[in-house]
């Protein structure tokens, strides 16, 4: 088998049960509507969406793997490669730029010793700039692992959050 050949993966019963709760929302002949939710479930469970996972989702929903690939490549939040255990997305769009969003990003770059887009050597943190998170009045805002919005992230609070997360991972 060549290195880039796409294989599939086995979905656990628990994962399939979560998929099923999404599929049931749509008409029986429109299961594809659940693809974005299924991929975000995969990402939550595995940290990223591999090509093998795309194939498994495609098989589950009865759609071509290339159509799943189109989804993971089109939407910003899917991780096509492994990321740190904690993915930090700091909004730097104009309303946030006016309220220290970019400053928060630069602060984290210095604190974590990585440039935007990078991952720390210990695999704990990936830092990304993001477009509008839709929480403009709370700036600086940061989305952690796609699902947790952290508001008013001053340097002090960034310190507490990062240091707290490091401590839970025994890397403080």
């Amino acid at each position: 088998m060549s290195a880039d050949a796409v294989t599939t993966m086995t979905l656990s019963d628990a994962t399939q049960a979560r998929f099923a709760r999404e599929v049931v929302k749509y008409p029986a002949d429109q299961k594809q509507s659940a693809v974005m939710a299924c991929l975000s479930i995969v990402q939550q469970e595995q940290g990223h969406v591999s090509r093998a996972a795309e194939q498994a989702v495609a098989d589950y929903l009865g759609m071509p793997a290339i159509a799943v690939y189109e989804i993971t490549t089109f939407y910003n939040m899917y991780n096509q490669r492994p990321v740190g255990k904690f993915k930090l997305n700091v909004c730097t769009n104009l309303p946030c730029q006016l309220r220290d969003g970019q400053k928060a990003l630069h602060y984290l770059e210095r604190k974590l010793g990585i440039a935007m887009g990078g991952t720390t050597a210990d695999g704990l943190f990936t830092l990304q700039q993001s477009e509008c998170l839709g929480a403009c009045a709370d700036s600086p805002v940061m989305l952690v692992n796609d699902r947790h919005m952290c508001s008013f992230m001053s340097d002090d609070k960034l310190d507490q959050l990062i240091d707290g997360l490091k401590a839970t991972e025994g890397k403080a």
Binding site: P27, L94, A137, S151
Partner: protein, 455 residues
Amino acid sequence: MNADQIIAQFRATGVQSCFHDRHINPQIYAGLNGSNWSLKDYEARGGYQALRKVLGKDGAPPDAETGVAGLTRDQVIATVKESALRGRGGAGFPTGLKWSFMPRQFPGQKYLVCNSDEGEPGTCKDRDILMHNPHIVIEGMVIAAYAMGISVGYNYIHGEIFEEYERFEAALEEARAAGYLGDAVLGSEFNFELHAFHGFGAYICGEETALLESLEGKKGQPRFKPPFPASFGLYGKPTTINNTETFAAVPWIIRNGGQAYLECGKPNNGGTKIYSVSGDVNLPGNYEVPMGTPFAKLLELAGGVRTGRTLKAVIPGGSSAPVLPAHIMMDVTMDYDSIAKAGSMLGSGAVIVMDDSRCMVESLKRLSYFYMHESCGQCTPCREGTGWLWRLVDKIQRGVATPADMALLDNVAENIMGRTICALGDAAAMPVRAMIKHFRPEFEAMIKSDAPTAA
């Protein structure tokens, strides 16, 4: 403590932006405190009374002439038309009129869609509605579905606000259990099932036809119009799409009447509107005030311009709206017609305030980067043009542009306008043209002075 608990700590210390007493006659945010989102709290605030009234389940006597209890579909639509409610997502299209476009006798499935894909930079009002008053959206959607004879609906929620998606799902469960959703709503002959859908990071999906593509499990690339969604929408079926705040306005209108709603705004601009005030103010947040409230009053509610600074400019309707300088802004009232007359648009109601310390070139550079990043790539003028816009503004900001670049920037913007399938192209070009129109000297001051004047 585990990681989830640590993250939760930081969420809990955030101050949600709609909990303050600086609204004026609020309807959607009225009585919210951050913990009273659930069904019983909503009912205690008069929630679902509008739906009971519509379905004739409020105990009121039947109509003396017809002998029928409740409101007919036509009566609901007429009431919404009378209210002058206009779409709160950005376009400001009259809601009652949109509802009347849905084919009545269509033999197949029709769909109702709520656009909660709130990603227009500066806008964060729907997030607070979904988190803290989700049932008002559900009630508005059930009433809309009844008026248009629709039995299935979806709420498309911005992927980045996942906690709000989970909250909305929890509210749906409550509404189903209480008989407000599902078969035979409140024992009537009307059925309506509603589901939540989440995006995953694509600004373009706020465009209604891109949203439909996304909801079908595809890339969010806008469709040609016509056909409009009312004839060819989700899965090719007739579909009505309204913004979250639009649906949230409906229960109040039904309870109090279209005329009452109109009267709390101004003619052709009915009701209250939620403004997300961000940027250089002392108290950024969401403010619900009557349509037609002077901008100066809104600024005052938001604590005024950042202490020690003066107002320079305002983007009054989300990042796609043309910027207006302070002296124009201080004379407008916050409603569709007044802001349009001043040369911009109310859009989504996102008011981005900039003080006298701000560089307009740098601000435009960030916005241009955003549109380049979010162009879906379908139309050449937008896909290529947004890149040109960013590179040119970047060049100016770095001080290496020539006078010819300034002319080229204007020219590229002009050539994107009106030449794309959807409005993202225009949305990228409009801020450029407005920034140059109102702040040209700032741009010219950054042009290389020793550069030749011809290209």
